[in-house]
Amino acid sequence: MLAVDVKNIKKTFVSKQDYVEAVKDVSFQVKQGEIFGLLGPNGAGKSTTILMLTTLLSITEGSASILGLDVSSKDKEVREKIGVALQDTGIDNLLTGRELFFTTCRLWGYSNKDSEKRTTELLELVGLMEAADRRVKTYSGGMKRRLDLGLSLVHSPEILFLDEPTTGLDPGSRRVLWDEIKRLRDNGVTIILTTQYLEEADELADRIAIIDEGLVVAEGTSDELKAGIGGDVITFAFENNNDLENAKNILKNTVQEKNELRITVEDGASKIPGYLKDLGSNGVEVSSVSANKPTLDDVFLEVTGYRLEGSEDITNEEEKRKR
C-alpha cells in the first residue's frame, strides 16, 4: 500500500477581492519508509499541499489518500496515522519541555504513568533531557525544532509531515535534525518534508518533487533528476561584459547567470577545446571554464528557468562549518 497517494489536487482561495490558485495541479506518490521531498521556493504551494494532506485545509479539486484513507472523508482516521510539524504549528512558550510532552501524551490518550514514561523516552530521543524542566521560551531555535519534531512523534506515527524543518537553523542544528530525520526513516517512518534548500533535498530525500507556481515540474530521485538534464554542465566565466554578450551569440542554448554562461552537453570535457576555439577565433576572451556533472541547482534552473534563492546561503554555511 502506498503511504501517500496524491492525485491532481488543487487549492483555490476565493475572497471578495482575490482569487488565488495556491496549488494548481499536484500529483505524487510516496512509498512506505521513504523520505519524499517537496522542493520549491516560498509561495510555490508546498505548505498548502502539506496542509491539505494533514487535513488542516480542504482540497478544492482532486483527491489524496494516506495509507489508503481518503484525506477528505476520513480526516479523523488520517490524523491518527500522521505526525505533523508545520511552520504554522506553534509551541507553548510558557510551559516546560517536559510539561509539553506530558500534555501531548495525555491528549493522545496515554495514561498518566505511560505519559511520564513516553515523555522521558522522547526527551532522550530529541536530546532535550537536560533542558526538560526549563520553559520553552528559553530554548534556542534548534532546540525548539527538535522539541517540535519530538511532539509530532508522541503517538509513533507511521507518516510524518515536516514543513521546512530546518529553515532558520544554524548549520550545526540543521545537521543534528537531518541525522534525526534519517534515523526515523531507518526505523520505518515515512517522511514527507518540504524544503527550499537544495542541499537538504539532496541530502535527505529518497525522491524529490520540484514544485513551482502550484505545479509539480519535475519528480524523481536526485540522480534521476540530474541525469534528466543530460550530460555535463560547462560553465564559462567572463571578466568583460562585451565578451559575455558576444559569447551568447556564438554559443547556442546557454543560460546566463551574472558573468557566467552555462551550457548542458553530452561529454562536456571533450567539447571544451572546440568551444574555446570558436570563442577565441571571434576575439572573445574567457576568464575561466569548467565542466561538471549537473547539480540539483542546475536541475532547478533547467525546469523552472530561475535559481532557487537561499540555496547559496546554506551552501556557504555548510562550507564554513566544514572549515
Binding site: 490524523r79 504554522d88 506553534g90 507553548d92 511532539l151
Partner: protein, 265 residues
C-alpha cells in the same frame, strides 16, 4: 498503551494546561483585580461619607447606613469582567499556532474552544471572590444574611461568563489578541451607563434611558437588593434573567464564531 481519550478528559487536560499559562503570568491578573479593589476603596472613601451613615433620615439614604453594601456590587461586576480574558487566551493560541497543532490531532474541537472559557470562569470566581472577601473585611453585611454573598457571586459568575463568550466571539472575529483586548472597551459603557453611584431613580435624562437598556443595571440592582434591601424577588429575578440572557447570547455568538474558526478553509 492508549487509554481514555474522552471529551471530558481532553477538556480537563487542556484546561490544566491553560491554568498553568495563567499561573506563569501572575502579573496579567493584577490590573483588573486592582481596578476592582480601587473602585471599592475610592468610591467608599469619596462617597461613603455622604451616602453612608450620615445620610440617615435624608432622601440620600439609599445605602441604608452601609455604603460598602451599596458600592460592593460595582466592584464585583468589575471583577467579573475578568472572564473576558477567555478570548485573549484563545486568540493567543490561534496566533501562536498552538490551536493549529491541536487541530492536527484527533481531539475534540470543542475541548479546544471550551478550555479557555473554563479558565475564564475560574478567573471570574477567583477575582470576584477576592473582591467579595475584601468587602467582607471592610464591613459588607448583606441584608439577607450571608447567603447574600453566594447570590452575589453566582450572578457575577453568570455575568462574567457572558463577557467570556463576548471576548471569545470578538477575539475569533478579529483574529488577534489585540482585537480581543480592544473589545473589552465594552467595560466602560457597561459600568458607567448604569446606576453605578446612585440608584436609577436618581439618574436623569439620557443616562436614565441608557441605564434602562443596559443589562448591567439589572445585575447591579439585583446584587444591591440582597446587599441593601432584602428579598426583593422581582429585582433578583430580573438580575439573573439579564445576566443569563447576556451570557446565552454571547456564548451562542462564541460557539458560532468558534465553529467557523475550526472549519477547514
Amino acid at each position: 498503551m492508549k487509554s481514555n481519550r474522552s471529551f471530558l478528559v481532553q477538556l480537563q487536560i487542556l484546561t490544566k494546561r491553560m491554568v498553568l499559562r495563567v499561573v506563569r503570568r501572575p502579573l496579567a491578573e493584577l490590573p483588573n483585580l486592582i481596578i476592582s479593589a480601587f473602585f471599592l476603596f475610592v468610591y467608599d472613601g469619596a462617597l461613603g461619607g455622604v451616602f453612608g451613615g450620615t445620610a440617615s433620615g435624608t432622601p440620600f439614604d439609599f445605602a441604608k447606613g452601609n455604603f460598602i453594601n451599596f458600592i460592593l456590587p460595582v466592584s464585583i461586576v468589575s471583577a467579573s469582567l475578568s472572564g473576558a480574558a477567555s478570548g485573549i487566551y484563545l486568540v493567543e493560541d490561534i496566533e501562536s499556532g498552538v490551536f493549529k497543532r491541536y487541530q492536527s490531532m484527533p481531539i475534540s474541537r470543542w475541548a479546544i474552544i471550551l478550555a479557555p472559557m473554563n479558565v475564564g470562569a475560574l478567573r471570574v470566581l477567583l477575582q470576584s471572590g477576592l473582591i467579595l472577601f475584601i468587602g467582607i473585611i471592610i464591613g459588607a453585611d448583606p441584608a439577607v444574611g450571608n447567603i447574600g454573598f453566594l447570590i452575589v457571586l453566582s450572578i457575577a459568575f453568570i455575568w462574567g461568563m457572558g463577557f467570556a463568550g463576548y471576548s471569545v466571539a470578538a477575539g475569533v472575529k478579529s483574529g488577534s489578541s489585540q482585537g480581543a483586548q480592544a473589545a473589552t472597551f465594552l467595560f466602560f459603557p457597561a459600568i458607567f451607563l448604569a446606576p453605578t453611584f446612585v440608584p436609577r431613580e436618581a439618574l436623569k435624562g439620557w443616562l436614565e434611558t441608557a441605564a434602562a437598556y443596559n443589562p448591567t443595571t439589572y445585575v447591579i440592582e439585583a446584587m444591591r437588593a440582597v446587599m441593601v434591601d432584602g428579598w426583593e424577588l422581582d429585582i433578583l429575578f430580573r438580575g439573573y434573567l439579564s445576566a443569563g440572557l447576556f451570557a446565552a447570547l454571547t456564548l451562542t455568538l462564541a460557539v458560532l464564531s468558534a465553529r467557523k474558526a475550526t472549519e477547514k478553509a
